[in-house]
Subunit: 332 residues, 2 copies
């Protein structure tokens, strides 16, 4: 271990520990995003894949399989499956949200068009299903196709609750489970399944991924109000897009009639003026909404940690615990 | 057999012969298009499903399984899978083509929005993969996930060749294999696979579906120039949308420099004026492009018939042969 080891971030340490496997995943992704007939497909996919996300989801699968003692080849297929599903979702999300930037670059829908993003996303979904079918493991097929359905369901739910001030914390959780946690939990669960681990361990891996995903998304939504330039997030994006995320849901629920009038104007009606974001932050702080959101994120991280701690100790397990700590450290 | 029997169309006779199975498919579709959390999903899906397409693709699966002597329950799952993939594709197609009408009703992207069509389509894709996973048959999983990839690839290819006058018949065939024939051939092939038929029979079922799908699409593209009110198609839609379909590809390839100038203006540049469609039809007839397209459709129908004729005789087999004859009868 080098001297600067402790300063490196958990996902960087995971990436190093899994570097051989990650190399195989990248090679498989590159091979399978090719298309003999339609060169537009690898162009669009490469634009997104090579922008270099953190590869968090495929790392969860690789780490989970490794800590479960898996020594076959298929964790690589499953990790690539998970990344393909994620990439397909991003392509479709950017169409749905009319986004212009992703990972610091113009989105595919902007560089090419919405049509290409929709159809290349479909291609990647199909490629994901081909890849997971190659494992020959029906249980992972069930888990991943269930996850894909839950993701789409969460996204549709998010669409129908947008700008809706009566959105509850329960609905928010369903949306988050769909758009984020479903793929996290599938990613960790299949690692245990492919390794043939007993049901209680597989369940713990699912619980870890589920809670980590929820904590991850709550932190993301919190930083949208709490963030600074250091976090790389623009404060107020969700406010401007009138998204009912947890801090806002809590503030709205605690507000009096006058505050309700304010939220109706800026969120439900979308009539936003100079100073409204500052006033929203004032109201959130008045009701402790940001702090309560932070506590929720910490509670979910606690659940993730306790699920992972129930599993047999290993270096990989401890790194996954560190990763979970790191996710909430941004708001600790 | 009743007296009016001979006058009924082959897909109507198929629907009657398969009515019990089709009822099970409809019930399964209705069950699986539900969503506990997002009511928008069944709304959008029902709008399309209940508009009542001919259920041609699921019937192909049911008929194929039945003629192969299959007596298990999973042909119903596979038929519903095929219909879900088809419906998802239609939802995404209508977004990509900015369509306003489908099956005589306003499209979902018009009634709701593009976002709903994209995300509900994703949900139906995922539901399709869940359904086919339930069969536990890895070979059908491979066939159907391959088909889904081929469909998306064909659609992307179609996007990149649109308005491109140098599109060849070979490229056209690739697009058609993707957007239409891949699901037809998968639909018939899985019927044989699930029934455990030998490889040569499965191959014949694939060949039938492939050639039937190609003939079906060529006829459709031909009727866009040849049709009358009786066919329910508007003559010239593809021309106005500047699609490089087979009649146009043949006419462009046979044209002289002056004709090339015309095609460049109306198709490549999209500068269309009164009388251009009539002139296009004159050029097509001058070069026998419509007749040559008709001959191609008949040749593919011949291939489909010969593949099906190689299989053991049965009432169902003969109905599938009649269906194939009927597809090209519209241009015979």
């Amino acid at each position: 271990m080098s001297l600067d080891e402790p300063r490196r971030k958990p996902h960087e340490r995971l990436a190093e520990m899994l570097s051989d496997d990650l190399g195989r995943v990248d090679a498989l992704i590159r091979e399978r995003m090719a298309s003999e007939h339609a060169p537009r497909i690898p162009e669009v996919t490469a634009h997104l894949v090579e922008a270099g996300g953190k590869r968090l989801r495929p790392m969860l699968t690789l780490a989970s399989a490794r800590m479960c003692g898996y020594d076959g080849p298929y964790h690589v297929h499953l990790a690539a499956t998970v990344e393909f599903i994620h990439t397909a979702t991003l392509l479709h999300d950017d169409v749905v949200d009319e986004s212009r930037k992703r990972r610091g670059r113009p989105t595919a829908n902007l560089l090419w068009d919405n049509k290409s993003s929709v159809l290349v996303g479909d291609y990647l979904f199909a490629r994901a299903f081909q890849l997971m079918t190659e494992t020959g493991n029906l249980r992972v097929l069930r888990i991943l196709s269930d996850a894909a359905a839950t993701i789409a369901e969460g996204e549709v739910l998010q669409l129908t609750v947008a700008q809706n001030l009566s959105t509850t914390e329960d609905t928010y959780l369903k949306v988050v489970r769909g758009k984020t946690a479903a793929l996290f939990s599938a990613a960790t669960e299949v690692g245990g399944v492919i390794a043939g681990r007993p049901d209680d361990e597989v369940r713990a891996l699912f619980d870890y991924g589920d809670a980590l995903g929820i904590a991850f998304q709550i932190v993301d939504d919190l930083l949208d109000y709490w963030g600074s330039d250091a976090t790389g997030k623009n404060v107020g994006d969700d406010f401007r897009e009138r998204k009912l995320t947890l801090p806002l849901i809590k503030a709205v629920a605690a507000g009096d009639a006058e505050e309700r009038t304010f939220w109706t104007r800026v969120i439900a009606k979308g009539d936003q003026q100079e100073g409204d974001l500052d006033h929203a932050l004032t109201l959130m702080n008045r009701h402790g909404a940001l702090e309560a959101t932070r506590q929720d994120a910490l509670a979910w991280a606690g659940k993730a940690k306790s699920a992972m701690t129930s599993l047999p100790p290993s270096e990989m397990r401890d790194l996954l615990i560190d990763l979970n700590d790191y996710v909430v450290a941004r708001v600790s």
